[in-house]
Amino acid sequence: MKDKIINDRQMQMNRRAFLSKSSLGVGVAALSSLLGGCQLFSPSDNGILNADKSGAGILDALHFAPKAKRVIYLFQSGGPSQLELFDYKPLLNQRRGEDLPESIRKGQRLTGMTSGQSSFPLVGSLFNFSQHGSNGTWMSDLMPYTSKIVDELCIIKSMHTEAINHDPAITFFQTGSQQPGRPCIGSWLSYGMGSMNDNLPTFTVLLSRGTGRKFGQPLYSRLWGNGFLHSLHQGVQFRSGKDPVLYLKDPDGIDRASRRKMLDHIAELNSKQLEEFGDPEISSRIAQYEMAYRMQTSVPDVVDVSKEPDHIYQMYGPDSMQPGTFAANCLLARRLAEQDVRFIQLYHMGWDQHENLPSQIEGQARDVDQATAALIMDLKQRGMLDDTLVIWGGEFGRTNYSQGTLTDTNYGRDHHPRCFTIFMAGGGVKPGMVYGETDEFGYNIVKDPVHVHDFQATMLKLLGLDHERLTYKYQGRRFRLTDVHGHVVNDILA
């Protein structure tokens, strides 16, 4: 055994000598190719497999044949009202102003914002619905562009959650737990599946603020945190402006040639330390610096939308010319998807319509409608929709009764966990499908409920992962995205 070690060691020394003797070009090229082979993830069960020589239990193969390679998750933060957008309930218009029957409410706990209300007057949508697509799917007039592509969508009207407030509900969607501290979806995927490219982070995050309600619910950077997973798996926020990733830009006064020269010196001096101390952590650091250098080129390239043709801007809508809008982020998401970034997480804020819902939701819907449809069709025309899963949805739904005073033209809606609507497209879900049903009051699910953990399990399945086997052992327990729950919704798989 020792001979082998010495032999290996010798080879490593040769490599080092090779690196340090070569001028920067060769050394860098070699290092770059190294990173390609280095999948930055840990095995599926860090507890058992650690010495499992047979390889069984290590996630070096997916659990299932994957349908999707990547995910674009258009998170609508605040809780979009399903009743104005997707879930057509004419009964609520007919019984407008009547009190929500207790036979329907069934003791559902209410948030502190409406639990004190003396009555719960039912209210239907002020916006019209009409039927679209080959299945005659009901869609709101608020979503004209999305309505045109319903044949591409799998709409789930029977989502439900456990949390009734934003922070716990959004944390639940992203991490499977209402209390902060666990890894989010993108981190789990990075950990389980690694990266598909050498130049960009595998989990990216884009934020936009709604125009319907400029200031609604806050976001928290922990929503893209790695929890107890290795920090390589944390989401990297892309921002509009001169520094698209924090600390990405060289300081003014340092040009690319200088930076390259600096990195070469760092690498050479680090290699010398490696020879001295033999600590493999040093070679890891050399590789990380090279990845950072490549990101400095690849990130500005990918966020540079200036060469997109006019018809693309027209497709995504006028907002797409404005950096930092939802539409611009959708366009950027497509570009990231083209570069094989695995998980692209968008957050669009402003969907929390407790009051002035009719006026606010128009702006919110306008923010997202055209660009969402454009993104899906753009992926399709590039042949990427088949292996890209697009998800659109918020953390919960909204009540069928008005929060605050109901007038002819105005009302609000409180949070509602018992039913809400999300939709998906591409990536192995059935197109042109409406799944699940709510009662005619739009308050309870009557058919095919989908819990948040079911949604997570299904998403993982589409990516080729068994949610019960993507685990990480921490503090003695094997954690999962789906905690100890979740069932794959097979009915919606293509």
Binding site: L207, Y289, Y474
Partner: protein, 795 residues
């Protein structure tokens, strides 16, 4: 998917003749490293785990129980509700009980493999019978099965869980010292470590140089690098006591107190905001200042913790004792309109319970909130009995009205501070400082077992109590937090001292004797040196809980003073360095990395305590995530002047958007009690070190400092290098950096705009010590030095 199989047990597995294979090899090394923190958590240190061989003599606690716990307890463990087939393997009675309707067979029959159904079930290939079941996604490896079999063959001796057994004074192993070996024994720590090495036929790599040693010990005890003067003095001091004097001096510094505080802030989940939704500001710095004050005075640990847990329940408590109890109000608190207050009040009590479990018992108590613990003997009833101690606080679940100070709190006045509480540094001269503290309700709030942990599903009432399996709560103790603190520091308590010394050890070695400082339970790592752990625990208790004296013992050991060189043999046999044949090479923490840059450049402002400060942070981070609320924290308003050069423990901590450069270097999020951090290596870290204005500015100021002190470029570069690494630069290194300096100087001479741009980074005024293009070139060299692996490492 992954193309190259990467195995964790051995980094040296790919062998090939082509140059490609050589690349692959180093790739696997890089990958290997990234797994390390992960491996560390799960590696069971024992000769069996090191070699995967079945040991001659099987020890239940070290060899058998980790397997039973990890693969069997989920269905055959403490949780009665998920127990299958009536078999429980976590107790002796259960493991040896007769099974089946007719009580005619046994899982384990000591000495009789044939009659032990456990053996049949783990070896069978029939998927209907095999254990663990295929559905569990768990497996036993061949050598693990063999261990179980051999254990039964050897008589199936049962032992109680090691960490619940009383701490016993271990015999200090004798070491045979031959004349030619280099083994040094400074104190009994070395006996314990050398005895283990001897068992494995391993040798220490030898001692560190004096330069390496002063850097290491200064970082470990103060979080800062040594100054050049300190290094020179130490090197020149030939007295045999030189090192001990150095240690004594370091322990007396304010920097020591700050560094110890920095660790305590993670454990106490300290932050300057409430967490959750709008994440409003809170003022808790007087408590943080008290912690610094306590470490400055080396307050005995039992007193330090007792005041924090129950200072308000002391007879006629002083203001200082009440301030200490803010410890238990550092948890997150919500102001989200619409939440159900009781749901969150229960969450706060749970947080205190979990903090107590993690910080003082090293147990994952929180696992028993919803059900009996799956692995440890902690029932759901035990959880809520401990919860009951923290349940009678006159507090609200929801901050109302918006921005209110959550009850209970006290108001500190400047007068009071001037007279009695001088340790509070009211630098912003607030007229009144409200501070959340603990208080006990006149009538205890009844605690209940909550079904599935849900706040609205109380079932059986419980009273304040602790698990008797750890140590029974003696009759004489009051059933309140004071009684709980007294129980914790009972001399017979098996956990408190072990858990504490383990953290001190981790502070010095990067990894505890128990590698899972937050889990001393069945699923936690086993101690690599159990006798040493007990010896240290007794030292701590015998010294009247004197932390400084224990730390001093640790750093005076020859084990601590070893070199950090990794030999091939050691890397192969003990990649995690659990046997300590060498010193660890560890990346500095987030705080240390920033403080180091500030210290060596001379920027560091050494003011102690006071309100938290806001140094450089990329613009817009707070603004782009707020939802219209957030009060004083809606916008990040960077501080001016020397405040931006304070030590990082004073950096303002907004929980929902923590300082990004620190999070990139694995700082704890302060959401919950944390006693261990990761040490990772990522591309984002490289970007911070290369481009963060804090580091660029420090590079420029380091250049100024070297220009002022030396005259030639050689000496200036050498000085910068030595300041950053604590060692003299070697000729080859100097040559490379001089080459860089010359090239950059030439470039800058023709690029005055670049010069001006680079020198304008940061608030520190420009100083015209030389031609600007020369200063810019030195700045580049300084930045390269700050980016060296060695600079951000203590080895």
């Amino acid at each position: 998917m992954r193309k190259i199989p990467i195995k964790i047990s051995s980094p040296f597995f790919i062998l090939g003749a082509s140059i490609l294979a050589v690349f692959l090899l180093s790739t696997s090394l890089a990958c290997q490293q990234k797994q390390n923190s992960n491996v560390a958590k799960t590696q069971v240190n024992s000769s069996a785990a090191l070699t995967e061989l079945v040991p001659e003599v099987i020890d239940f606690n070290f060899h058998v129980k980790p397997i039973l716990s990890d693969r069997c307890f989920k269905c055959h463990g403490p949780d009665a509700n998920s127990r299958e087939a009536g078999l429980r393997l976590d107790t002796k009675e259960g493991a040896f009980a007769a099974l089946g309707e007719d009580k005619d067979h046994y899982a384990i029959v000591p000495g009789n493999i044939e009659s032990s159904t456990l053996i049949k079930r783990i070896y069978t290939e029939n998927p209907d019978d095999v254990m663990p079941t295929p559905e569990s996604n768990l497996k036993l490896r061949a050598f693990e099965k063999d261990i179980l079999k051999k254990w039964i063959a050897q008589g199936a001796e049962w032992k109680e869980h090691w960490s619940f057994l009383p701490i016993e004074r271990p015999e200090i192993p004798a070491i045979n010292q031959s004349s030619q070996d280099q083994r040094i024994i400074n104190n009994p720590i070395d006996n314990f470590v050398l005895a283990k090495l001897q068992e494995q036929n391993l040798n220490s790599v030898g001692q560190a140089t004096k330069e390496q040693l002063i850097r290491r010990v200064t970082f470990d005890l103060t979080g800062l690098p040594p100054t050049l003067e300190e290094i020179d003095l130490f090197i020149q001091d030939d007295s045999p006591k030189a090192y001990e004097h150095l240690v004594d001096r370091l322990l007396q510094t304010d920097a020591y107190a700050e560094h110890m505080t920095s660790k305590w802030l993670d454990l106490a989940r300290y932050a300057d905001s409430h967490g959750y939704q709008d994440d409003l500001e809170r003022i808790m710095f007087p408590w943080r200042d008290w912690v610094i004050h306590a470490f400055q005075n080396n307050m005995p640990y039992d007193q330090f913790v007792t005041w924090q847990l129950a200072g308000d329940l002391l007879p006629n408590p002083s203001r200082e004792q009440i301030i200490a109890t803010a410890f238990n109000r550092n948890h997150k608190i919500t102001q989200e309109g619409g939440v159900i207050p009781e749901e969150y009040r229960v969450e706060y009590v749970s947080d205190r319970t979990q903090t107590f479990g993690t910080a003082f018992l090293g147990l994952t108590f929180e696992c028993a909130k919803c059900h009996d613990h799956k692995y440890d003997a902690i029932m759901q009833k035990d959880y809520f009995s401990l919860f009951s101690f923290f349940n009678s606080v006159p507090e609200e679940g929801l901050i109302e009205p918006y921005g209110a100070i959550p009850k209970p709190y006290i108001v500190l006045t400047q007068e009071e501070i001037d007279e009695k509480l001088k340790f509070i540094k009211n630098l912003d001269t607030l007229k009144e400082i409200p501070l959340m503290v603990m208080e006990e309700m006149p009538k205890k709030r009844q605690a209940y077992i909550l079904d599935r942990g849900a706040y609205d599903k109380p079932t059986t009432p419980v009273s304040s109590d602790v698990p008797a399996s750890i140590l029974p709560f003696s009759e004489g103790l009051s059933r309140d937090r004071m009684g709980l603190a007294n129980w914790l520091f009972d001399k017979d308590h098996p956990l408190t001292a072990r858990v504490t010394v383990n953290r001190l050890w981790q502070q010095c070695f990067g990894r505890g004797i128990v590698a899972t400082p937050d889990d001393f339970g069945n699923q936690g790592a086993l101690p690599s040196h159990p006798e040493l752990l007990d010896w240290l625990a007794l030292e701590l208790m015998d010294s009247n809980w004197d932390l400084q004296s224990t730390l001093k013992t640790i750093v005076l050991s020859a084990t601590y003073q070893q070199s950090a060189k990794v030999t091939d043999e050691l890397l192969e046999l003990d990649p995690e360095n659990s046997l300590l044949a060498r010193a660890p090479r560890l990346r500095l923490t987030a705080e240390m990395i920033r403080d180091h840059a500030l210290a060596v450049s001379g920027l560091l402002d050494r003011t102690i305590g006071g309100p938290s400060v806001k140094p450089y942070q990329p613009a817009g981070l707070w603004e782009e995530t707020i939802g219209g609320g957030g009060g004083s924290l809606a916008k990040y308003i960077r501080d001016k002047g020397s405040k931006i050069y304070r030590r990082s423990i004073y950096t303002f901590w907004k929980r929902t958007v923590p300082p990004p450069s620190m999070m990139t270097f694995d700082a704890s999020s302060r959401d919950i009690c944390a006693v261990k951090r990761q040490t990772t290596s990522t591309p984002l870290q490289a970007l911070v070190m290369l481009n963060d204005p804090q580091i660029i500015e420090a590079s420029r100021v380091l250049a100024y400092r070297s220009i002022e002190n030396e005259t030639s470029s050689t000496d200036r570069i050498a000085r910068m290098f030595r300041l950053a690494t604590s060692r003299h630069i070697e000729a080859e290194e100097l040559q490379k950096l001089e080459g860089l300096f010359e090239a950059e100087q030439k470039r800058f001479a023709t690029a005055p705009e670049d010069v001006n741009a680079l020198l304008s980074v940061g608030e520190y005024p420009q100083v015209d010590l030389l031609d600007k293009h020369e200063i810019a070139a030195y700045t580049i060299v300084a930045n390269v030095i700050f980016n060296l692996d060695e600079t951000i490492t203590k080895g």
